[in-house]
Amino acid sequence: MFDFLDSGQYDVLGAFWVTVQLTLYSAIGSLIWGTALAGMRVSPVPLMRGFGTTYVNVVRNTPLTLVIIGCSLGLSETLGITLGGTTFKETGFRLAVLGLTAYTGTFVCEALRSGINTVPVGQAEAARALGLSFFQVLRLIVLPQAFRAVIAPLTNVLIALTKNTTVAAAIGVAEAALLMKEMIENEADALFAVFGVFALGFVLLTLPTGLLLGWVAKRAAVKR
Protein backbone atom coordinates (compact mmCIF):
# COMPACT_ATOMS: atom_id res chain seq x y z
CA MET A 1 0.00 0.00 0.00
CA PHE A 2 2.87 2.37 0.78
CA ASP A 3 5.11 1.11 -2.03
CA PHE A 4 5.11 4.57 -3.64
CA LEU A 5 7.42 5.66 -0.82
CA ASP A 6 10.05 3.10 -1.83
CA SER A 7 10.11 4.03 -5.51
CA GLY A 8 12.60 6.83 -4.85
CA GLN A 9 10.52 9.09 -7.04
CA TYR A 10 9.39 11.36 -4.24
CA ASP A 11 11.52 13.30 -1.80
CA VAL A 12 9.04 13.44 1.06
CA LEU A 13 11.61 14.43 3.67
CA GLY A 14 12.98 17.14 1.39
CA ALA A 15 9.51 18.56 0.93
CA PHE A 16 8.90 18.61 4.66
CA TRP A 17 12.29 20.27 5.13
CA VAL A 18 11.08 23.13 2.93
CA THR A 19 7.96 23.29 5.11
CA VAL A 20 10.14 23.53 8.22
CA GLN A 21 12.28 26.25 6.63
CA LEU A 22 9.21 28.22 5.61
CA THR A 23 7.88 27.91 9.15
CA LEU A 24 11.14 28.96 10.81
CA TYR A 25 11.81 32.01 8.66
CA SER A 26 8.19 33.14 8.85
CA ALA A 27 8.11 32.55 12.62
CA ILE A 28 11.18 34.72 13.16
CA GLY A 29 9.86 37.37 10.79
CA SER A 30 6.39 37.47 12.29
CA LEU A 31 7.77 37.58 15.85
CA ILE A 32 9.72 40.73 14.97
CA TRP A 33 6.93 42.28 12.91
CA GLY A 34 4.28 41.30 15.46
CA THR A 35 6.25 42.85 18.31
CA ALA A 36 6.65 46.06 16.32
CA LEU A 37 2.93 46.08 15.59
CA ALA A 38 2.08 45.49 19.27
CA GLY A 39 4.39 48.35 20.19
CA MET A 40 2.55 50.57 17.74
CA ARG A 41 -0.84 49.55 19.07
CA VAL A 42 0.02 50.54 22.66
CA SER A 43 2.10 53.58 21.74
CA PRO A 44 1.11 57.11 22.76
CA VAL A 45 1.27 58.34 19.14
CA PRO A 46 -2.26 58.31 17.61
CA LEU A 47 -0.97 57.89 14.04
CA MET A 48 0.93 54.73 14.93
CA ARG A 49 -1.98 53.35 16.93
CA GLY A 50 -4.20 54.03 13.92
CA PHE A 51 -1.82 52.31 11.50
CA GLY A 52 -1.38 49.33 13.82
CA THR A 53 -5.11 48.88 14.31
CA THR A 54 -5.93 49.24 10.61
CA TYR A 55 -3.15 46.93 9.49
CA VAL A 56 -4.02 44.21 12.00
CA ASN A 57 -7.73 44.33 11.25
CA VAL A 58 -7.31 44.35 7.47
CA VAL A 59 -4.60 41.72 7.11
CA ARG A 60 -5.92 39.41 9.81
CA ASN A 61 -9.29 39.29 8.08
CA THR A 62 -7.90 38.74 4.60
CA PRO A 63 -7.72 35.06 3.64
CA LEU A 64 -4.11 33.87 3.65
CA THR A 65 -4.50 32.47 0.14
CA LEU A 66 -5.33 35.97 -1.07
CA VAL A 67 -2.36 37.46 0.78
CA ILE A 68 0.06 34.94 -0.72
CA ILE A 69 -1.37 34.96 -4.23
CA GLY A 70 -1.39 38.75 -3.98
CA CYS A 71 2.33 38.63 -3.23
CA SER A 72 2.91 36.43 -6.27
CA LEU A 73 0.54 38.02 -8.79
CA GLY A 74 0.76 41.60 -7.60
CA LEU A 75 4.30 42.06 -6.33
CA SER A 76 6.18 39.59 -8.46
CA GLU A 77 4.40 39.14 -11.77
CA THR A 78 2.93 42.61 -12.18
CA LEU A 79 5.39 44.89 -10.39
CA GLY A 80 8.42 42.70 -11.10
CA ILE A 81 9.67 42.57 -7.50
CA THR A 82 11.79 39.45 -7.07
CA LEU A 83 13.20 40.07 -3.56
CA GLY A 84 16.65 39.25 -4.91
CA GLY A 85 15.67 35.79 -6.17
CA THR A 86 16.99 34.82 -9.59
CA THR A 87 14.73 31.83 -10.21
CA PHE A 88 11.03 31.33 -9.55
CA LYS A 89 12.00 28.82 -6.88
CA GLU A 90 13.91 31.40 -4.84
CA THR A 91 11.48 34.22 -5.49
CA GLY A 92 8.50 32.04 -4.65
CA PHE A 93 10.01 30.98 -1.34
CA ARG A 94 10.82 34.55 -0.35
CA LEU A 95 7.42 35.82 -1.39
CA ALA A 96 5.79 33.07 0.65
CA VAL A 97 7.85 34.03 3.71
CA LEU A 98 6.85 37.64 3.16
CA GLY A 99 3.17 36.77 2.87
CA LEU A 100 3.20 34.43 5.87
CA THR A 101 5.06 37.03 7.95
CA ALA A 102 2.65 39.80 7.02
CA TYR A 103 -0.29 37.57 7.96
CA THR A 104 1.04 35.80 11.06
CA GLY A 105 2.48 39.04 12.44
CA THR A 106 -1.06 40.25 13.13
CA PHE A 107 -1.79 37.22 15.31
CA VAL A 108 1.50 37.60 17.16
CA CYS A 109 0.62 41.26 17.74
CA GLU A 110 -2.78 40.45 19.18
CA ALA A 111 -1.40 37.70 21.41
CA LEU A 112 1.29 40.02 22.66
CA ARG A 113 -1.19 42.81 23.30
CA SER A 114 -3.18 40.47 25.52
CA GLY A 115 0.10 39.71 27.33
CA ILE A 116 0.72 43.40 27.83
CA ASN A 117 -2.66 43.59 29.52
CA THR A 118 -1.55 41.04 32.12
CA VAL A 119 1.15 43.40 33.36
CA PRO A 120 -0.32 45.54 36.17
CA VAL A 121 -0.72 49.18 35.17
CA GLY A 122 1.08 50.26 38.34
CA GLN A 123 4.36 48.84 37.01
CA ALA A 124 4.30 51.02 33.92
CA GLU A 125 3.31 54.01 36.01
CA ALA A 126 6.13 53.36 38.44
CA ALA A 127 8.60 53.00 35.58
CA ARG A 128 7.43 56.26 34.09
CA ALA A 129 7.76 57.91 37.50
CA LEU A 130 11.38 56.78 37.55
CA GLY A 131 11.89 58.77 34.36
CA LEU A 132 11.99 55.94 31.78
CA SER A 133 10.87 56.77 28.26
CA PHE A 134 8.06 54.89 26.48
CA PHE A 135 10.50 52.58 24.69
CA GLN A 136 12.39 51.88 27.91
CA VAL A 137 9.16 51.05 29.72
CA LEU A 138 8.14 48.73 26.89
CA ARG A 139 11.54 47.09 26.49
CA LEU A 140 12.61 46.75 30.12
CA ILE A 141 9.40 46.40 32.10
CA VAL A 142 6.37 45.43 30.05
CA LEU A 143 7.46 43.21 27.14
CA PRO A 144 9.63 40.78 29.15
CA GLN A 145 6.67 40.02 31.39
CA ALA A 146 4.22 40.04 28.50
CA PHE A 147 6.24 37.47 26.51
CA ARG A 148 6.37 35.13 29.48
CA ALA A 149 2.60 35.30 29.72
CA VAL A 150 1.86 34.59 26.08
CA ILE A 151 4.10 31.63 25.27
CA ALA A 152 1.09 29.31 25.16
CA PRO A 153 -0.96 31.49 22.76
CA LEU A 154 2.15 32.07 20.63
CA THR A 155 2.58 28.30 20.43
CA ASN A 156 -0.88 28.10 18.93
CA VAL A 157 0.10 30.78 16.42
CA LEU A 158 3.26 28.84 15.56
CA ILE A 159 1.32 25.62 15.05
CA ALA A 160 -1.21 27.43 12.87
CA LEU A 161 1.70 28.91 10.93
CA THR A 162 3.21 25.46 10.36
CA LYS A 163 -0.06 24.30 8.84
CA ASN A 164 -0.59 27.55 6.95
CA THR A 165 2.65 27.02 5.03
CA THR A 166 0.71 24.59 2.84
CA VAL A 167 -0.92 27.62 1.24
CA ALA A 168 2.48 28.44 -0.31
CA ALA A 169 1.84 25.54 -2.71
CA ALA A 170 -0.58 27.90 -4.47
CA ILE A 171 2.37 29.94 -5.74
CA GLY A 172 4.51 26.89 -6.47
CA VAL A 173 6.78 26.66 -3.43
CA ALA A 174 7.93 23.04 -3.39
CA GLU A 175 6.85 22.15 0.15
CA ALA A 176 4.84 19.25 1.50
CA ALA A 177 1.44 20.20 0.08
CA LEU A 178 2.84 20.61 -3.41
CA LEU A 179 4.48 17.19 -3.30
CA MET A 180 1.19 15.78 -2.07
CA LYS A 181 -0.55 17.23 -5.11
CA GLU A 182 2.02 15.65 -7.40
CA MET A 183 1.68 12.30 -5.67
CA ILE A 184 -2.11 12.39 -5.86
CA GLU A 185 -1.82 13.13 -9.58
CA ASN A 186 0.43 10.09 -10.11
CA GLU A 187 -0.72 7.60 -7.48
CA ALA A 188 -4.43 7.47 -8.15
CA ASP A 189 -4.62 4.01 -6.62
CA ALA A 190 -3.20 5.04 -3.23
CA LEU A 191 -5.06 8.27 -2.55
CA PHE A 192 -5.69 7.73 1.14
CA ALA A 193 -2.21 6.37 1.82
CA VAL A 194 -0.68 9.51 0.27
CA PHE A 195 -3.00 11.69 2.29
CA GLY A 196 -2.18 9.73 5.44
CA VAL A 197 1.56 10.17 4.99
CA PHE A 198 1.25 13.94 4.78
CA ALA A 199 -1.28 14.20 7.60
CA LEU A 200 1.08 12.18 9.78
CA GLY A 201 3.98 14.40 8.75
CA PHE A 202 2.17 17.48 10.00
CA VAL A 203 1.19 15.78 13.24
CA LEU A 204 4.86 14.90 13.77
CA LEU A 205 5.82 18.51 13.19
CA THR A 206 3.20 20.19 15.35
CA LEU A 207 2.62 17.80 18.25
CA PRO A 208 6.17 18.01 19.71
CA THR A 209 6.09 21.79 19.24
CA GLY A 210 2.92 21.97 21.29
CA LEU A 211 4.20 19.66 24.03
CA LEU A 212 7.58 21.34 24.33
CA LEU A 213 6.36 24.92 24.32
CA GLY A 214 3.45 24.01 26.62
CA TRP A 215 6.02 22.84 29.15
CA VAL A 216 8.11 26.00 28.63
CA ALA A 217 4.99 28.16 29.06
CA LYS A 218 4.28 26.58 32.45
CA ARG A 219 7.85 27.13 33.62
CA ALA A 220 8.13 30.68 32.35
CA ALA A 221 4.77 32.09 33.40
CA VAL A 222 4.94 34.94 35.91
CA LYS A 223 3.07 33.79 39.01
CA ARG A 224 0.92 36.63 40.18
Binding site: I69, S72, L73, S76, E77, T78, G80, T87, F88, K89, G92, A169, A170, I171, G172, A174, L178, M180, K181, E182, I184, E185, N186, E187, A188, D189, L191
Partner: protein, 284 residues
Protein backbone atom coordinates in the same frame (compact mmCIF):
# COMPACT_ATOMS: atom_id res chain seq x y z
CA UNK B 1 -33.04 44.88 27.41
CA UNK B 2 -33.59 46.51 24.06
CA UNK B 3 -30.26 45.13 22.86
CA UNK B 4 -31.24 41.69 24.07
CA UNK B 5 -34.50 41.85 22.10
CA UNK B 6 -32.72 42.97 18.97
CA UNK B 7 -30.24 40.14 19.42
CA UNK B 8 -33.04 37.63 19.79
CA UNK B 9 -34.72 38.95 16.64
CA UNK B 10 -31.48 38.62 14.67
CA UNK B 11 -30.92 35.11 16.01
CA UNK B 12 -34.45 34.12 15.04
CA UNK B 13 -33.96 35.55 11.54
CA UNK B 14 -30.69 33.66 11.12
CA UNK B 15 -32.24 30.45 12.38
CA UNK B 16 -35.13 30.87 9.93
CA UNK B 17 -32.78 31.53 7.04
CA UNK B 18 -30.72 28.48 7.97
CA UNK B 19 -33.71 26.16 8.12
CA UNK B 20 -34.97 27.57 4.83
CA UNK B 21 -31.67 26.91 3.05
CA UNK B 22 -31.37 23.54 4.73
CA UNK B 23 -34.74 22.60 3.26
CA UNK B 24 -33.69 23.81 -0.16
CA UNK B 25 -30.43 21.92 0.14
CA UNK B 26 -31.96 18.63 1.13
CA UNK B 27 -34.60 19.00 -1.57
CA UNK B 28 -31.88 19.39 -4.21
CA UNK B 29 -30.00 16.47 -2.83
CA UNK B 30 -33.01 14.22 -2.92
CA UNK B 31 -33.65 14.89 -6.59
CA UNK B 32 -29.93 14.49 -7.31
CA UNK B 33 -29.86 11.11 -5.59
CA UNK B 34 -32.83 9.92 -7.58
CA UNK B 35 -30.90 10.88 -10.69
CA UNK B 36 -27.65 9.14 -9.88
CA UNK B 37 -29.27 5.92 -8.78
CA UNK B 38 -31.23 6.12 -12.03
CA UNK B 39 -34.17 4.31 -10.43
CA UNK B 40 -37.42 3.44 -12.12
CA UNK B 41 -37.99 6.97 -13.43
CA UNK B 42 -34.49 7.26 -14.94
CA UNK B 43 -34.92 11.00 -15.12
CA UNK B 44 -31.37 12.30 -14.64
CA UNK B 45 -27.77 11.33 -15.24
CA UNK B 46 -24.87 12.89 -13.31
CA UNK B 47 -21.68 13.41 -15.31
CA UNK B 48 -18.37 14.70 -13.97
CA UNK B 49 -16.65 17.39 -16.04
CA UNK B 50 -14.14 20.17 -15.50
CA UNK B 51 -15.73 23.53 -14.68
CA UNK B 52 -12.66 25.69 -15.21
CA UNK B 53 -11.02 24.74 -18.48
CA UNK B 54 -12.14 26.73 -21.49
CA UNK B 55 -12.41 24.57 -24.59
CA UNK B 56 -12.58 21.39 -22.49
CA UNK B 57 -15.20 21.93 -19.84
CA UNK B 58 -16.24 25.36 -18.64
CA UNK B 59 -19.11 26.60 -16.53
CA UNK B 60 -20.09 29.98 -17.90
CA UNK B 61 -21.43 32.82 -15.77
CA UNK B 62 -24.95 32.17 -17.13
CA UNK B 63 -24.78 28.58 -15.85
CA UNK B 64 -24.39 26.96 -19.27
CA UNK B 65 -21.60 24.51 -19.97
CA UNK B 66 -19.33 24.62 -23.00
CA UNK B 67 -16.30 22.72 -24.20
CA UNK B 68 -15.24 19.57 -26.03
CA UNK B 69 -15.71 17.29 -23.02
CA UNK B 70 -19.18 18.73 -22.56
CA UNK B 71 -20.04 17.98 -26.19
CA UNK B 72 -18.72 14.43 -25.87
CA UNK B 73 -20.59 13.93 -22.58
CA UNK B 74 -23.82 15.23 -24.08
CA UNK B 75 -23.47 13.00 -27.13
CA UNK B 76 -22.70 9.91 -25.07
CA UNK B 77 -25.59 10.66 -22.71
CA UNK B 78 -27.91 10.97 -25.69
CA UNK B 79 -26.82 7.54 -26.92
CA UNK B 80 -27.52 6.18 -23.43
CA UNK B 81 -31.03 7.59 -23.64
CA UNK B 82 -30.77 10.91 -21.80
CA UNK B 83 -31.85 14.20 -23.34
CA UNK B 84 -29.63 17.25 -22.69
CA UNK B 85 -32.07 18.57 -20.06
CA UNK B 86 -31.71 15.32 -18.13
CA UNK B 87 -27.97 15.79 -17.66
CA UNK B 88 -26.63 17.14 -14.41
CA UNK B 89 -22.98 18.20 -14.61
CA UNK B 90 -20.89 17.87 -11.49
CA UNK B 91 -17.46 19.39 -11.01
CA UNK B 92 -14.71 16.77 -11.12
CA UNK B 93 -11.42 18.36 -10.10
CA UNK B 94 -8.39 16.26 -10.98
CA UNK B 95 -7.64 14.87 -7.52
CA UNK B 96 -11.24 13.81 -6.90
CA UNK B 97 -12.08 12.01 -10.13
CA UNK B 98 -11.42 8.48 -8.88
CA UNK B 99 -13.41 9.01 -5.71
CA UNK B 100 -16.38 10.54 -7.49
CA UNK B 101 -16.55 7.46 -9.69
CA UNK B 102 -15.99 4.79 -7.06
CA UNK B 103 -18.44 6.43 -4.64
CA UNK B 104 -21.10 6.48 -7.33
CA UNK B 105 -21.50 10.27 -7.19
CA UNK B 106 -21.31 10.39 -10.98
CA UNK B 107 -22.18 7.86 -13.66
CA UNK B 108 -19.07 8.67 -15.65
CA UNK B 109 -16.35 11.32 -15.86
CA UNK B 110 -15.35 13.23 -19.00
CA UNK B 111 -12.71 15.63 -17.67
CA UNK B 112 -9.46 15.66 -19.69
CA UNK B 113 -8.82 12.35 -17.98
CA UNK B 114 -5.64 10.69 -19.29
CA UNK B 115 -5.70 6.91 -19.27
CA UNK B 116 -2.84 5.40 -17.25
CA UNK B 117 -2.12 2.21 -15.35
CA UNK B 118 -2.40 3.65 -11.83
CA UNK B 119 -5.79 5.10 -12.60
CA UNK B 120 -6.91 1.87 -14.21
CA UNK B 121 -6.32 0.18 -10.88
CA UNK B 122 -9.09 2.34 -9.42
CA UNK B 123 -11.51 2.90 -12.31
CA UNK B 124 -12.27 1.59 -15.78
CA UNK B 125 -12.05 3.70 -18.90
CA UNK B 126 -13.98 3.85 -22.14
CA UNK B 127 -12.43 5.35 -25.23
CA UNK B 128 -9.98 7.06 -25.69
CA UNK B 129 -11.88 9.83 -27.40
CA UNK B 130 -9.02 12.30 -27.91
CA UNK B 131 -5.27 12.10 -28.29
CA UNK B 132 -3.62 15.17 -26.79
CA UNK B 133 0.05 16.07 -26.51
CA UNK B 134 1.85 18.19 -23.99
CA UNK B 135 2.64 21.43 -25.79
CA UNK B 136 3.59 25.03 -25.18
CA UNK B 137 1.60 28.21 -25.46
CA UNK B 138 3.73 31.25 -26.31
CA UNK B 139 3.06 34.87 -27.15
CA UNK B 140 1.99 35.25 -30.77
CA UNK B 141 5.17 37.13 -31.76
CA UNK B 142 7.58 34.73 -30.06
CA UNK B 143 9.64 32.51 -32.39
CA UNK B 144 12.46 31.57 -30.03
CA UNK B 145 11.10 28.17 -28.97
CA UNK B 146 11.17 25.48 -31.64
CA UNK B 147 12.37 22.37 -29.77
CA UNK B 148 12.20 21.12 -26.18
CA UNK B 149 15.89 21.94 -25.53
CA UNK B 150 15.14 25.63 -26.05
CA UNK B 151 13.18 25.51 -22.83
CA UNK B 152 16.25 25.17 -20.65
CA UNK B 153 16.93 28.88 -20.92
CA UNK B 154 13.29 29.92 -20.61
CA UNK B 155 10.84 30.82 -17.89
CA UNK B 156 7.98 28.37 -17.92
CA UNK B 157 4.63 28.21 -16.19
CA UNK B 158 2.39 25.28 -15.35
CA UNK B 159 -0.07 24.16 -12.73
CA UNK B 160 1.02 22.86 -9.32
CA UNK B 161 1.42 19.11 -9.25
CA UNK B 162 0.22 18.53 -12.81
CA UNK B 163 1.76 15.81 -14.96
CA UNK B 164 2.99 18.46 -17.37
CA UNK B 165 4.90 20.28 -14.64
CA UNK B 166 6.49 17.02 -13.49
CA UNK B 167 7.46 16.16 -17.08
CA UNK B 168 9.30 19.44 -17.44
CA UNK B 169 11.13 19.06 -14.13
CA UNK B 170 12.14 15.46 -14.66
CA UNK B 171 12.54 14.92 -18.40
CA UNK B 172 12.01 17.75 -20.84
CA UNK B 173 13.97 20.66 -19.46
CA UNK B 174 15.31 20.25 -15.91
CA UNK B 175 17.18 23.55 -16.24
CA UNK B 176 14.13 25.58 -17.12
CA UNK B 177 12.88 28.08 -14.57
CA UNK B 178 9.50 26.60 -13.77
CA UNK B 179 6.80 28.56 -12.00
CA UNK B 180 3.93 26.50 -10.65
CA UNK B 181 0.68 28.38 -10.22
CA UNK B 182 -2.64 27.32 -8.78
CA UNK B 183 -4.42 27.59 -12.13
CA UNK B 184 -3.81 28.10 -15.82
CA UNK B 185 -5.48 31.51 -15.78
CA UNK B 186 -2.77 32.87 -13.47
CA UNK B 187 -0.17 31.48 -15.87
CA UNK B 188 -1.89 33.20 -18.77
CA UNK B 189 -1.65 36.55 -16.97
CA UNK B 190 2.04 35.96 -16.35
CA UNK B 191 2.56 34.99 -19.98
CA UNK B 192 0.89 38.16 -21.18
CA UNK B 193 2.90 40.38 -18.83
CA UNK B 194 6.11 38.62 -19.97
CA UNK B 195 6.84 37.32 -16.48
CA UNK B 196 7.09 33.89 -18.14
CA UNK B 197 7.89 32.87 -21.72
CA UNK B 198 5.68 29.84 -22.13
CA UNK B 199 2.79 28.00 -20.56
CA UNK B 200 2.83 24.23 -20.78
CA UNK B 201 0.15 21.55 -20.54
CA UNK B 202 -1.93 19.44 -22.95
CA UNK B 203 -2.41 21.15 -26.30
CA UNK B 204 -6.18 20.72 -26.10
CA UNK B 205 -6.33 22.75 -22.89
CA UNK B 206 -3.95 25.38 -24.32
CA UNK B 207 -5.99 25.63 -27.51
CA UNK B 208 -9.09 26.19 -25.41
CA UNK B 209 -7.48 29.15 -23.66
CA UNK B 210 -6.06 30.62 -26.86
CA UNK B 211 -9.45 30.31 -28.55
CA UNK B 212 -11.22 32.35 -25.85
CA UNK B 213 -12.68 35.57 -27.19
CA UNK B 214 -10.54 37.80 -24.95
CA UNK B 215 -7.30 36.02 -25.88
CA UNK B 216 -7.71 35.79 -29.64
CA UNK B 217 -4.55 36.73 -31.52
CA UNK B 218 -2.42 37.10 -28.40
CA UNK B 219 -1.06 33.58 -28.10
CA UNK B 220 -0.15 30.64 -30.30
CA UNK B 221 0.70 26.98 -29.84
CA UNK B 222 4.34 26.01 -30.37
CA UNK B 223 3.22 22.73 -31.94
CA UNK B 224 5.59 20.40 -30.08
CA UNK B 225 4.44 16.89 -29.22
CA UNK B 226 6.09 16.40 -25.84
CA UNK B 227 3.95 13.51 -24.64
CA UNK B 228 0.92 11.42 -25.55
CA UNK B 229 -2.20 11.79 -23.44
CA UNK B 230 -5.12 9.57 -24.32
CA UNK B 231 -8.26 11.07 -22.84
CA UNK B 232 -10.74 8.43 -21.73
CA UNK B 233 -14.13 8.42 -20.08
CA UNK B 234 -13.78 7.18 -16.52
CA UNK B 235 -16.42 4.85 -15.13
CA UNK B 236 -16.94 2.46 -12.26
CA UNK B 237 -14.60 -0.50 -12.21
CA UNK B 238 -16.17 -3.63 -13.66
CA UNK B 239 -19.14 -1.95 -15.35
CA UNK B 240 -18.57 -3.72 -18.68
CA UNK B 241 -22.06 -2.94 -19.93
CA UNK B 242 -21.68 0.83 -19.59
CA UNK B 243 -18.17 0.65 -21.01
CA UNK B 244 -19.38 -1.13 -24.16
CA UNK B 245 -22.27 1.30 -24.57
CA UNK B 246 -20.01 4.36 -24.22
CA UNK B 247 -17.47 2.91 -26.65
CA UNK B 248 -20.26 2.35 -29.18
CA UNK B 249 -21.45 5.91 -28.66
CA UNK B 250 -17.93 7.27 -29.22
CA UNK B 251 -17.56 5.24 -32.41
CA UNK B 252 -20.86 6.60 -33.66
CA UNK B 253 -19.85 10.16 -32.76
CA UNK B 254 -16.72 9.84 -34.89
CA UNK B 255 -18.59 8.13 -37.74
CA UNK B 256 -21.35 10.71 -38.10
CA UNK B 257 -18.97 13.70 -38.02
CA UNK B 258 -20.14 15.13 -34.70
CA UNK B 259 -16.69 14.48 -33.22
CA UNK B 260 -14.92 16.45 -35.94
CA UNK B 261 -17.40 19.30 -35.60
CA UNK B 262 -16.93 19.44 -31.82
CA UNK B 263 -13.15 19.60 -32.21
CA UNK B 264 -13.42 22.39 -34.76
CA UNK B 265 -15.76 24.57 -32.71
CA UNK B 266 -13.91 24.18 -29.41
CA UNK B 267 -10.25 24.23 -30.43
CA UNK B 268 -10.32 25.59 -33.95
CA UNK B 269 -9.48 29.28 -33.69
CA UNK B 270 -6.00 28.74 -32.15
CA UNK B 271 -4.15 27.02 -34.98
CA UNK B 272 -4.64 23.68 -33.27
CA UNK B 273 -4.00 20.70 -35.54
CA UNK B 274 -6.04 17.90 -34.12
CA UNK B 275 -5.04 14.26 -34.32
CA UNK B 276 -7.53 11.97 -36.01
CA UNK B 277 -9.96 10.32 -33.64
CA UNK B 278 -8.04 7.65 -31.69
CA UNK B 279 -8.86 3.94 -31.94
CA UNK B 280 -10.92 2.63 -29.07
CA UNK B 281 -8.56 0.50 -26.98
CA UNK B 282 -10.28 0.11 -23.63
CA UNK B 283 -12.40 -2.93 -22.93
CA UNK B 284 -13.05 -3.80 -26.56
Amino acid sequence: MKLYKAGAAVAAAVALALTATACGGSGDKASGDAGSSGGAKKDKVVIGIKFDQPGIGLKNPDGKFTGFDVDVATYVAKELGYQPDQIEFKQAISAERENLISNGDVKFVVASYSINEKRKAKVDFAGPYLLAHQDLLVRADDTSITKPEDLNKKKLCSVTGSTSAQNVKEKLAPEADLKQNAGYSECLTALESKAVDALTTDNSILAGYAAQEKNKGKFKLAGLSLSNENYGIGLKKGDKELQTKINAALKKMVADGAWEAAVKTNFGPAGYKNEPAPQITEGS
